[in-house]
Symmetry: C2
Subunit: 358 residues, 2 copies
DNA sequence: CTGAAAGCGCTTACAG
DNA sequence: CTGAAAGCGCTTACAG
């Protein structure tokens, strides 16, 4: 029976109108198999007249592919992820893939639910910026169930089968720290959300995966100090929640230390804006009295005075590469090839907020 | 025949393992209909053991709902849309809806394709920030085909059946202009991407829908000047492409006018950052020698010195309301109720970049 | 090149 | 509460 008024016209309706079988109509419309020019024309005309739209659900159920990739991030409103997301869509759309987006708000349960739902919706693959590098069982299961996963921005312990596209955070933070060391700074403060990893990181030989970017940056900072033969002082590592206000307070704590740092490094763009504000409010002159380094090259960093020295992350490219990685794997070519690991370099951009220690 | 090794286990496999019919297994797993406690337990256990994941495609094909909403924006990387998008996901996810995201890059053809694909994927509804307010046929067709559409941030001519969630741009720009007028400014420059609408807007009685926010802001500016009995000078309206560099140049043109403005209003956050930069580089002191007003309350506006006076748009709420609007319509309650039109107010936040004309 | 038939994996009356 | 059967709208061998 035909669904004439209930919903949208089906292939049956089109086939009937064109005077062919549904098989032929499907071939003409779907661009597969062989169809005579004459049949094709009649089908296309009928489809246009009826306002026919293919039902992708039915097609996907048969073909096994939805041409949809899942993208899971912790916060789309963070410029870093917003840019990465654009990188992903910019490679996905031209390739004929749609993006199913989930924002987890850094909640692992939300991430687990997202992965489940995406599996049920039969996405072809998933790109995920994991909320917690130590929680990866759901991702492992997803891969085992045959859904390719690309880890974005952060590796996850126990998910070694996934492709990985990250930034060399440890090296980047090291660069920034060395830059300050070369300027003569000996007491360098850090504003980070990974302060609680301090103890774990100090234990030597701790090379396991599963650290958030901020923790890796903390490690880069610590290593650079050690290599310079400087003592690491825990009071110089100020922990903040992941928001501007908390970073403001953390930076304030550094500045009011009995022996305050002569330079401050922030491990992230959100924290940097809060810390920069705190330094402004402290009345200290940048860079004469204190040097400041941020992470991520947001537009505002060149608008403030003095312009901020930053570690510039290739956020857009990160997304681009993750998208390509996934599409490549879906292409079948590399179907079950061994996981690829791409690590992009961040660049230190020296501007006016860093200067020699007076 | 069972798909035992080919793919993931199906309901048939679960039913067999649990010793019940697929109908019963489906009821137990899907949470619909009546199932005895005993049967439910056996089914759930079997499903867990097999690692069963429901196939949403099959379910959706029958139920007619995918629990997915399409979201179309011009640029996810723009903080304004990034925030709106988060508003949408924040209301969609808790309600059990996923978001299918398309970035059009302001390209109408991309938008048309997006709408088609989303229809074919049978999204339950679409939220769209249209690329061109004058091009709405594809949206109209979508609505006619039974897919609810909510217009975000911009109305589209000829799509009167859609719900609408916008900001009162004309009023907001008027407020900003009046603020400058009250400070004694008589020559107020505008940096906008809608400069080419200048002629059309000046013709009185032009009340048709289908103007981009920037054009509405231009209109608000023009009206405020007229109401103040001031002549409108075309040379004070500097047109820019939608990027920082172009805004930098446009602002530069204003400043090098024979008789330059004593105040500049920017109709958008991207343009504002470029214009602010141009003023900085001009050497003019803000606000002593020139006042500056921006749009959108980005974090950087309080980081620059002097802090920027801005029109603050409720970007997050815009997304939230659009999401709610759509979900409400999907709830059936308001199924075919007449279209709702929500207009949110933007707020003028006066800071240090505006002062009395000297 | 074309069509009849089977089948993708579910849900939904319907009868018991 | 349970199950056999029909059906959602397509694509895919298979035979002609």
């Amino acid at each position: 029976m035909t669904t004439e008024r209930t919903g949208s016209p089906s292939l049956i309706d089109v086939a009937r109108a064109a005077g062919v079988s549904t098989a032929t109509a499907g071939r003409a419309l779907g661009g597969y198999g062989q169809v005579s020019e004459r049949a094709r024309e009649r089908v296309l005309r009928a489809a246009a007249e009826l306002g026919y739209r293919t039902n992708s659900l039915a097609r996907s159920m048969i073909t096994g592919s939805t041409h949809t990739i899942g993208v899971i991030v912790t916060d789309v409103a963070n410029p870093f992820f917003a840019m990465a997301l654009r990188g992903i869509t910019d490679v996905a759309h031209p390739a004929g893939f749609e993006v199913l987006l989930v924002n987890t708000g850094r909640n692992v349960e939300a991430e687990q639910r997202a992965v489940t739902v995406m599996s049920e919706k039969r996405v072809d693959g998933i790109i995920v910026a994991a909320a917690r590098p130590s929680r990866g069982r759901h991702l492992k299961q997803t891969i085992d169930a045959g859904v390719p996963v690309v880890l974005l921005d952060r590796e996850v312990s126990g998910v070694s089968e996934a492709d990985t596209v990250t930034i060399d955070n440890e090296h980047a933070a090291g660069e920034a720290t060395r830059h300050l060391l070369e300027l003569g700074h000996r007491r360098i403060g850090l504003v980070t959300e990974a302060g609680d990893e301090f103890g774990r990181l100090r234990r030597p030989g701790n090379r396991r995966k599963g650290l958030l970017p901020s923790a890796l940056r903390l490690r880069g900072y610590l290593r650079a100090l050690e290599e310079a033969g400087l003592p690491v002082e825990e009071s110089l590592v100020a922990t903040a929640q992941y928001d501007r206000e908390s970073a403001y307070e953390a930076a304030g704590r550094l500045l009011s230390l009995p022996e305050p740092p002569s330079a401050v490094l922030c491990t992230d763009n959100v924290l940097a804006s809060g810390a920069y504000r705190a330094v402004q409010d402290s009345g200290l002159r940048i860079p004469e009295e204190i040097s400041v380094v941020g992470f991520d090259d947001e537009p505002w960093t060149t608008l403030v005075r003095p312009a901020l020295t930053v570690v510039e992350q290739p956020d857009y490219e990160l997304g681009l590469r993750a998208g390509r990685q996934l599409l490549h794997r879906l292409d079948g070519g590399s179907g079950s090839a061994k996981p690829q690991s791409v690590r992009l370099r961040a660049t230190l951009v020296v501007r006016d907020s860093t200067a020699c220690r007076r």
